[in-house]
């Protein structure tokens, strides 16, 4: 049987529709399952109380604190480093070999899987620098891991700043740094913020690189030299060791909602720039 090209065209078209709907359906199914099965087990107590009996009872408060510590300090270190790198690449150096070699470093870091970061953080920070399983070791490991994201988004944002803005600033007698500080960075700030949000999402959801550096102590962390268990690590342990299915779903709900919220806002910040640029 030979089908007419027009008929094939129609069949193919509906095939593409079905596949696209299926793929998006997957996302909604994942979120829906976690929400439906997590909501009954979530409460104010769950968020703000300490876990009891390895997480079988009680809440997840210390894991939220650990996650916040890890995310805030990693971003505090990675943001200046990453933004500085992007400024150097876009504003200060014009020599292709230098740009190429730095960009090679950034691209390679971006491609390294998180378990390798875990392996490196474990041997370097935890063992060789004798930090032990600690928030500090986790923070330093995550700083390196999120650096490429911040560099790349900042670079793109800076490259999108119109050249005229810089020329006007120079013509008013501003120096290079003054121009960057007062013209380039403020104009590029939504893009930089997107990079920060994406990195935040990555830190909150990361497990492999964190579990071998920050450890998995369930106690409330009081200093950076103490071990802590992030939400993602806690969820992994709850699920893998079969401690409590209800608590696992409830933790998954908090985890998935926070990462989705972070990523959606990253998207909208980015979207805002695109709109402005087109105007």
């Amino acid at each position: 049987m030979i089908l007419e090209p027009r008929k094939i065209d129609k069949i193919v078209k509906s095939g593409f529709y079905i596949q696209a709907i299926f793929a998006v359906g997957l996302l909604f199914a994942i979120v829906a399952i976690v929400v439906i099965r997590g909501v009954p087990h979530i409460s104010v107590r769950f968020i703000f109380f300490e876990p009891i009996d390895m997480g079988r009872e009680g809440g997840i408060f210390p894991t939220i604190v650990s996650t916040a510590i890890l995310a805030i300090f990693s971003l505090l270190l990675a943001t200046p480093l990453g933004v500085g790198t992007a400024i150097f690449l876009t504003e200060y150096t014009k020599r292709p070999p230098i740009i190429r070699v730095i960009r090679f470093g950034v691209e390679s870091l971006a491609g390294i899987p998180s378990i390798i970061y875990g392996l490196f953080g474990f041997i370097f920070f935890v063992v060789k620098l004798k930090m032990g399983w600690s928030a500090l070791a986790g923070i330093l490991t995550m700083t390196i891991m999120i650096l490429p994201t911040i560099i790349r988004t900042t670079e793109e944002a800076i490259l999108a700043v119109p050249k005229n803005l810089r020329l006007v600033s120079y013509s008013l007698g501003a120096t290079k740094w003054e121009t960057i500080k007062k013209v380039v960075l403020p104009t590029a700030s939504p893009g930089i913020l997107t990079g920060i949000m994406l990195s935040l999402g990555r830190t909150v959801g990361e497990t492999a690189a964190v579990i071998f550096t920050m450890g998995s102590s369930l106690r409330m962390p009081h200093s950076l030299s103490e071990s802590g268990r992030t939400m993602a690590v806690h969820f992994y342990i709850l699920a893998r060791e079969g401690i409590s299915l209800e608590k696992a779903y409830a933790t998954a709900l908090v985890l998935i909602l926070s990462t989705l919220l972070i990523n959606v806002s990253a998207y909208y910040i980015m979207h805002g720039i695109v709109k402005r640029r087109m105007r």
């Binding site: 090209p5 996302l27 399952i33 392996l119 490196f120 990523n263």
Partner: protein, 290 residues
């Protein structure tokens, strides 16, 4: 005011110096990571011989066996499985978004698909354990924790990578190519199949390879669903242990040569990843130049 002028010039110089130090930090971190993984991973290769580790089929580190061949094979099989699950679906989504979807549909669908990338990998692993593993056990038999379960989960996880890079590739095919094809009386599907996909080939390939890189490097989700058995799988329903799982399962308690063996596993993984990334970047760059 010549004084302030000089201060300004000095300040400018300091700032440039500081940023150049920042810029080279990425390179420094990369070297540091390589140095420490290699420094810990190479000694065992020297002691046991490269052949013993790469082609050895027995992993019993406390008894002096460090063969990781089953894990290398499993890693590749699970990655190919992920590509079979996620590759065609991802490419279809990219083609749909670029060629069929209206502007408004695209504005909703594309970010939704990208959000799949924001879901933590442990959540994928967990849902795999709760839904995919029992389904495989009941429908197809076997333990459920399997190569197949790992491939399905990884296939979904690499979907966003494949969609977004293939989409860029398909989008960057000039409209003149399509119009030329329509002018000759070709239908939409003929145009996509004969003109658009071949023109976007290198970019699509780059997306697939980056997806492979992500799949082969993924750890936690795979540990949860793939079963972690130490043998070369003979069917897709067999449990498997990948290179990444091997490291993550044993690192917490390994000491001495055992720990070195995990770093040797890391060396092999790192080399595979670097090769994949190199090929992918080559594909993307070629597309950009064209």
């Amino acid at each position: 005011m010549p004084g302030t002028e000089r201060v300004k010039v000095t300040k400018e110089r300091w700032i440039k110096g500081l940023f150049s130090v920042f810029a080279f930090s990425s390179l420094f971190f990369l070297l540091l990571i390589f140095a420490f993984i290699l420094f810990e991973g190479i000694p065992l290769f020297q002691k046991m011989g490269i052949g013993h580790i790469i082609t050895g089929t027995k992993w019993a580190p406390t008894k002096g066996h460090f063969g990781i061949m089953p894990m290398i094979i499993s890693s590749f099989l699970i990655t190919i499985g992920a590509l079979i699950v996620g590759g065609p679906l991802g490419l279809s989504c990219a083609i749909f978004l670029s060629e069929y979807a209206g502007k408004r549909t695209r504005l909703v669908l594309k970010p939704s698909l990208e959000l799949l990338a924001g879901i933590p990998s442990v959540v994928y692993g967990f849902l795999g354990v709760v839904y995919i593993v029992p389904a495989i056990r009941e429908i197809l038999g076997g333990p459920g924790f399997s190569l197949l379960a790992g491939s399905i989960i990884l296939g979904v996880m690499i979907l966003p990578t494949i969609v977004s890079i293939s989409f860029d590739a398909v989008r960057s095919v000039p409209d003149a190519y399509r119009e030329g094809s329509y002018a000759m009386g070709a239908t939409k599907w003929q145009t996509i199949y004969r003109i658009v996909i071949p023109s976007a080939k290198s970019g699509i390939l780059a997306g697939f390879i980056l997806g492979m890189g992500r799949a082969i490097g993924e750890t936690m989700a795979v540990i949860m669903v793939a079963g972690n058995a130490l043998k070369i799988p003979s069917s897709i329903l067999d449990p498997v242990r990948t290179l990444t799982s091997n490291i993550a399962l044993e690192l917490a308690y390994a000491t001495g040569d055992h720990r070195l063996g995990l770093f040797s596993t890391g060396v092999v993984l790192l080399i595979i990843i670097m090769i994949l990334n190199y090929i992918a970047n080559f594909g993307i760059r070629r597309r950009l130049i064209r």
